[in-house]
C-alpha cells in the first residue's frame, strides 16, 4: 500500500467492494438518497465499472417530504449520467396521511422510509443494496459489517454478524435473504468532503450557505420548504444565512447558521466544528440506542 494517499486507499477499497457485489449478486441496486454520501457512492460506482456503464439502477425512497432542491438535483443527475432511477413512495402511508408533523418523526420514518424501503426491495427482488452509511456516523453503525446480511423479513441481527477478516467477504445468501453493502464504511465526514473537492463531484446546493426562510422550533432551525408546514402561534419565518450538514426530510433536518458558501469554506467550517454532523437529525435523538433499533427493524 506504499505510495498511495489516504484517499486513494479508501477509493480502492470501496471500488473493490462494488466489484465484489457485481460479481456475486443477481440483482443489485444503489440506494440513492441524494446527499453528499450518495454523491460519493455514485461517483465510486461509476469508477468501479468503467468503461462499462453503471450495471445497476438507483433507487430513491421518496418520503414526499424531501427538500424540493434535492428532488430537482436527483432528476438532473440521473439524466446527466444516464442512470436508471427508480423512485418509490409508500402509497399506503400516503393514503393514511402519515406525515412528520401530525404523526411524529418516529412513525413517519418507520412508514415512509423503513417500510417503504422494504416494499421497494421486495417489489423489484433486489438481493443486494448499496448504502452510503459510514461507521463514523453513529455508534451502532460503527459495529456494522461491510456486507450486512438481512433476513427475508429484512431484519438485522447485531449479535450474529458474519466475521469479515482481511477483505474476504462472505457473499453467500439463501433464497429471500439479501445483503446491504456499505462501501463507505471506513470513510469519515472529512474524507467525504476532501474527496468531493478532489474529484469535483456535484452536490445539492443546500450544503452551501445562503439566506433561506427558517423557523426556530424546539431549538432547531427548520427551513420552511413549502406551505405544508403550518406555523404555530408565535412562530415567525426569518431569512437567515444557513446551510445543512446532512439532508433528509425537511421538517426533520436542522439547519446551521453559517456563511460558508463555497466548498473550501464548508471544509474549513467542518474542521473547526465542535458538534457532530448528526446533531441536526431529529430521529437520532429518540433514545440512546434508537438507531440500532431502527436498523434491526430494517432502516438503512
Amino acid at each position: 500500500m506504499r505510495g498511495l494517499t489516504h484517499l486513494q486507499r479508501l477509493e480502492a477499497e470501496s471500488i473493490h467492494i462494488f466489484r465484489e457485489v457485481i460479481a456475486t449478486a443477481d440483482n443489485p441496486v444503489l440506494m440513492y438518497s441524494i446527499g453528499k454520501d450518495s454523491a460519493v457512492l455514485l461517483h465510486l460506482a461509476i469508477k468501479a465499472f468503467y468503461p462499462a456503464p453503471l450495471p445497476f439502477p438507483l433507487l430513491h425512497v421518496d418520503t414526499t417530504w424531501k427538500f424540493r432542491e434535492m428532488i430537482a438535483f436527483r432528476d438532473q443527475r440521473a439524466k446527466e449520467l444516464g442512470c436508471r432511477l427508480i423512485v418509490h413512495i409508500n402509497q399506503d402511508g400516503l393514503r393514511a396521511g402519515v406525515n412528520p408533523f401530525a404523526s411524529g418523526s418516529r412513525l413517519h420514518t418507520d412508514v415512509m422510509k423503513t417500510q417503504s424501503l422494504k416494499q421497494a426491495l421486495d417489489r423489484h427482488k433486489f438481493d443486494a443494496a448499496f448504502g452510503g452509511a459510514r461507521r463514523d456516523e453513529e455508534k451502532s453503525r460503527a459495529k456494522e459489517r461491510v456486507f450486512s446480511l438481512r433476513s427475508a423479513e429484512h431484519r438485522w441481527d447485531p449479535k450474529n454478524q458474519r466475521p469479515e477478516p482481511w477483505h474476504l467477504f462472505n457473499t453467500r445468501k439463501r433464497a429471500g435473504e439479501s445483503v446491504r453493502v456499505f462501501p463507505l464504511s471506513n470513510w469519515t465526514e472529512a474524507d467525504v468532503w476532501d474527496y468531493i473537492a478532489q474529484e469535483n463531484i456535484p452536490v445539492v446546493p443546500l450544503y452551501f450557505a445562503k439566506p433561506r426562510p427558517v423557523v426556530e422550533r424546539d431549538g432547531t432551525l427548520i427551513m420552511r420548504d413549502d406551505d405544508r408546514m403550518v406555523l404555530r402561534p408565535g412562530e415567525k419565518i426569518e431569512m437567515r444565512s444557513v446551510r445543512f450538514r446532512t439532508l433528509g426530510c425537511y421538517p426533520l433536518t436542522g439547519a446551521v447558521e453559517s456563511e460558508a458558501a463555497t466548498l473550501s469554506d464548508i471544509i474549513a467550517e467542518m474542521r473547526g466544528s465542535r458538534s457532530s454532523e448528526r446533531q441536526g437529525r431529529v430521529i437520532d435523538h429518540d433514545g440512546g440506542a434508537s438507531m440500532e433499533q431502527k436498523k434491526q427493524e430494517g432502516y438503512f
Partner: protein, 523 residues
C-alpha cells in the same frame, strides 16, 4: 507534543495511516482506553460529550463520572451488560497521523470478532489489568495477533491506580509477558503503564509514574514506523475479481493489486491454467496508467484473447506462485459445532471459491504454552493446523508473502456461516531459521528508529563516554596509565552488580517508608 486536532488538513492526514486494534481480556478496560484516546485527541465533539455524560449517569460504572467506554460500546446489549460484543471501528487523527482503530471484544465467546479486527491491523495494543496480570485470554489474543501477522505490540498495563502505581507490579507483568510471547516472533513489544480512566500516560507524562521514562501511548502511536513484512512478495499478484465486457471490443480484468507493481508491457502468466500473455493497458476511469502498485483497484487488458475468469490470478512470468489443490492451513475455528477431519466446506481465497475438505487435523495449538498438541477435533475458538484439499486448483501462497492470497475463510455449505478463518502455512521445511534468528535479535535491540533502539543507543554511548572520562581522570591524577585502565575496567565490569545492589537497598528502604515513588532505576 499532542496538541491533537480532531480533523487536520488533508495533506497532513495523508502523510500516514496506522491501523491498530485494542485487545485483551474482559474488563481490562479496552473500550475505556479507546474512549480516552478519542477524548484526548479531541475527536469527541460537544454534542457527543453531552450524550456521554447523560449515558454515564444511566449506565456508567463510576457514579456520576464520565464512563469513556460508553463512547464506543454502541449496541444496547453492550451498554446494559457493560461488555463489548462486536468489533467497532473508530477513526481519529492527530496532526501527525490518521488512525483506524478496531476495538475488539475480550470475551472468549466473541474471539471471532477479535480475530477479524486483528486481520487488517499493523499494531496491537494488548491490555492487561495490573491487578490480574497475564490471563489466558492475554495469551490467546497475543497468539491470534501473531498468527495474522501483526508484528508490533504495545503491552498496556492498565488500572495502575488500583495497584498504587507500583513499579514492582508493572515490572513483574512486563517480564512475565515478554517471556510468555518469546516464541511468537513480534518485532517490537513496548510496555506502557496506564490508567485509562484517568488518562495517565495516554497523551501526556503521568506524574504518578515518575519511574517510567518511555513515551506516552499517543506519542508512541504517532511515531512508530511499520516496515513491510520481511518475506512479502515483491512481484505481481493480481486476483481477477470481475470480467468487464461492456462491448465486443473491450475485455478487461478488474481487480485490486495484491502485491508488486504491474506495468503495461509486462509478460504475465494467468493461474491456474498457466496461459501466458502481455499486459496491454491498465485502465481506470481517470485514464490509463503506466503502472499500478499494491492496493490499487484497476482493470487490466491483455494483448491476447485468452480465457480468464473470476478467481484466476495474474502473475509475472517466472513467478513462484502456484495453483494448488492441497495446502496446509492454520485455522481459527469460530462456531459451536467442533471441527473434525472429513468435514467439507466452501473455501474462499482472494476472489476464488471452491469446495474444500479438511482431510487431516495435524494438531491443535495449546493456548497457554503455544505448543502443538494431538487432537481429533477443534472446539469453538480453538486454533489448529489442518490439511485442506480443493476440488479445483487455486492460486495461493504462504501468508507471510501475501496477506491477500495467503488468507482464507471456510463457509458452511448449509448455513452459509463463516465458520473459520485461516492462514496458509509453508508445508515444505526450508530456511525459515534465518528469519527467526533475525527477529530474535531485533526483539532485543528494537526495530530501526523505534524508541527501544534509541534507548539502547543512548545508553551505550553514555557508558562509553563515562568510561573515557573515568580513564582520563585517574590517568591525570595518578600519572599511571595502567592503573587508570584497571580502574576503568573494574568499573565497567562491576557496575551492573553494584547498581543492582543499590536498587535492592533502595527498594527495601522505600517499602519500609511506604514511599512507592522512590524505587531505584527504571528503564
Amino acid at each position: 507534543m499532542s496538541a491533537a486536532l480532531a480533523i487536520t488538513a488533508p495533506a497532513i492526514r495523508e502523510a500516514s495511516l496506522l491501523r491498530l486494534l485494542t485487545c485483551g481480556s474482559v474488563d481490562d478496560g479496552k473500550s475505556t482506553l479507546l474512549g480516552r484516546l478519542l477524548f484526548d485527541s479531541n475527536a469527541v465533539l460537544d454534542d457527543q460529550l453531552e450524550a456521554l455524560d447523560k449515558d454515564s449517569r444511566k449506565f456508567g460504572t463510576h457514579g456520576d463520572e464520565r464512563d469513556f467506554a460508553l463512547l464506543v460500546d454502541g449496541l444496547s446489549a453492550e451498554r446494559e451488560q457493560g461488555i463489548t460484543i462486536d468489533v467497532a471501528y473508530r477513526y481519529f487523527s492527530t496532526p501527525k497521523r490518521s488512525f483506524i482503530v478496531a476495538d475488539t471484544p475480550g470475551h472468549e465467546q466473541y474471539t471471532r470478532n477479535m480475530a477479524t479486527g486483528a486481520s487488517t491491523a499493523e499494531l496491537a495494543i494488548i491490555l492487561v489489568d495490573a491487578r490480574k496480570g497475564i490471563l489466558p485470554q492475554t495469551r490467546r489474543h497475543s497468539f491470534i495477533v501473531s498468527m495474522v501477522g501483526v508484528r508490533h505490540v504495545v503491552l498496556a498495563v492498565n488500572k495502575m491506580d488500583l495497584v498504587g502505581f507500583d513499579q514492582g507490579v508493572y515490572d513483574r507483568i512486563v517480564a512475565e509477558y515478554i517471556e510468555a510471547v518469546a516464541t511468537l516472533g513480534f518485532t517490537s513489544i513496548v510496555p506502557i503503564p496506564l490508567c485509562a480512566r484517568e488518562g495517565d500516560n495516554i497523551a501526556g507524562r503521568s506524574p504518578r509514574t515518575p519511574w517510567y521514562r518511555g513515551a506516552n501511548l499517543l506519542e508512541y502511536l504517532e511515531n512508530v514506523t511499520i516496515a513491510p513484512a520481511p518475506d512479502q512478495a515483491r512481484r505481481l499478484h493480481f486476483p481477477v475479481q470481475w470480467v468487464n465486457r461492456p462491448t465486443l471490443d473491450f475485455r478487461g480484468y478488474a481487480g485490486t493489486v495484491a502485491t508488486g507493481t504491474v506495468r503495461a508491457g509486462d509478460g504475465v502468466t494467468v493461474l491456474p491454467n498457466r496461459r501466458r500473455s502481455t499486459i496491454a493497458r491498465i485502465v481506470t476511469a481517470d485514464g490509463d496508467l503506466a503502472e499500478a502498485v499494491a492496493g490499487q483497484a484497476v482493470t487490466l487488458t491483455l494483448t491476447d484473447e485468452i480465457d480468464v475468469s473470476r478467481g484466476d490470478v495474474i502473475v509475472h512470468d517466472g513467478s513462484v506462485m502456484q495453483a494448488r489443490k492441497a495446502i496446509v492451513v492454520r485455522l481459527l475455528w469460530m462456531v459451536d459445532r467442533p471441527l473434525r477431519a472429513g468435514q467439507g466446506f466452501i473455501v474462499k481465497i482472494g476472489t476464488a471459491e471452491a469446495n474444500a475438505e479438511v482431510v487431516a487435523l495435524r494438531h491443535a495449538v495449546d493456548i497457554h504454552s503455544f505448543q502443538n498438541q494431538q487432537a481429533d477435533s477443534l472446539p469453538m475458538n480453538a486454533i489448529g493446523v489442518v490439511d485442506l484439499t480443493f476440488d479445483k486448483a487455486i492460486a495461493t501462497t504462504v501468508y507471510g508473502r501475501d496477506r491477500e492470497l495467503g488468507s482464507l475463510i471456510l463457509i458452511d455449505r448449509m448455513t452459509n456461516q463463516t465458520v473459520a478463518l485461516g492462514t496458509v502455512q509453508d508445508d515444505t521445511p526450508r530456511q525459515a531459521n534465518d528469519n527467526v534468528r533475525g527477529r530474535t535479535v531485533l526483539a532485543l535491540v528494537g526495530a530501526a528508529g523505534s524508541p527501544q533502539r534509541r534507548r539502547l543507543w543512548s545508553s551505550v554511548s553514555r557508558k562509553v563516554v563515562e568510561a573515557i572520562v573515568l580513564f582520563l581522570v585517574v590517568a591525570v591524577l595518578s600519572r599511571n596509565g595502567w592503573l587508570a585502565l584497571a580502574v576503568t575496567a573494574a568499573n565497567v565490569l562491576l557496575r551492573p552488580a553494584t547498581d543492582r545492589a543499590a536498587a535492592w537497598v533502595w527498594r527495601h528502604l522505600s517499602a519500609d517508608a511506604t514511599h512507592p515513588a522512590v524505587s531505584g532505576h527504571a528503564d
